[in-house]
Amino acid sequence: MAEDTKVVSKDEGSEELGLRIYEVGYHVIPTVKEEDIESVVASIRTVIEKAGGSFIAEGAPALMKLSYAMTAREGDKNVDYDRGYFGWIKFESSVEASETLNETLKADRNILRHIIFRTVREETRARMKIPTLREVRRTDAIKPAPHHVEDTSIPVSEVDLDKAIETLTTD
């Protein structure tokens, strides 16, 4: 019999150390200047790094329109935002580190909304092209087909017309 060996994958090994794979998605408020966004992201990264986490993948923040307006508390009034800089980071860390990150993001005034959840190490994004109902190429201008109206009318005498009608009606 073959020796009973236990194969421990890298993830299982990490799990034993108390490390888990997480992904954080966040919206930076749109009033933050484009050049200051990097510092906001850097602050998220330092929280993960300080807690002993390591990065797996990252998506840079990009301005996008939100599906609905989100309300954020600014000072003593509520402000609605209809867009935000959306970015994400996939990382490996302990449970405590993810909780710390959650608290930090909650307190951060520059973060409109965030989500942290457990995921897998592998790439989860679909590599396929999603079929869409209609695809309109903006570069191709749609030219209307030339509309030919040929004047083929020839003068018809009243007598010929009457004759033609008569033959039709008699049939």
Partner: protein, 65 residues
């Protein structure tokens, strides 16, 4: 016919894949039933979780008028 997830061998459904998730919501923004979407129970649960995350993050609407 096999569903879009099986056809393309998609094991994990990501909440950021909005175009993929849109295949499983109706014009009002509600989830399509498993019978209509043709997903397996496991896939339906994965899509459901992804749609909920996408809604929370404003990538998909909760309701569309």
């Amino acid at each position: 016919m096999a569903n879009i997830l099986t056809q393309n061998d998609i094991q994990h459904v990501d909440y950021k894949d909005v175009d993929l998730l849109k295949q499983f919501i109706n014009p009002h923004g509600r989830m399509v039933s498993r019978k209509r979407g043709g997903l397996t129970a496991k896939q339906q649960r994965a899509v459901e979780a992804a749609v909920k995350r996408a809604r929370f993050m404003g990538l998909l609407p909760y309701v569309q008028k």
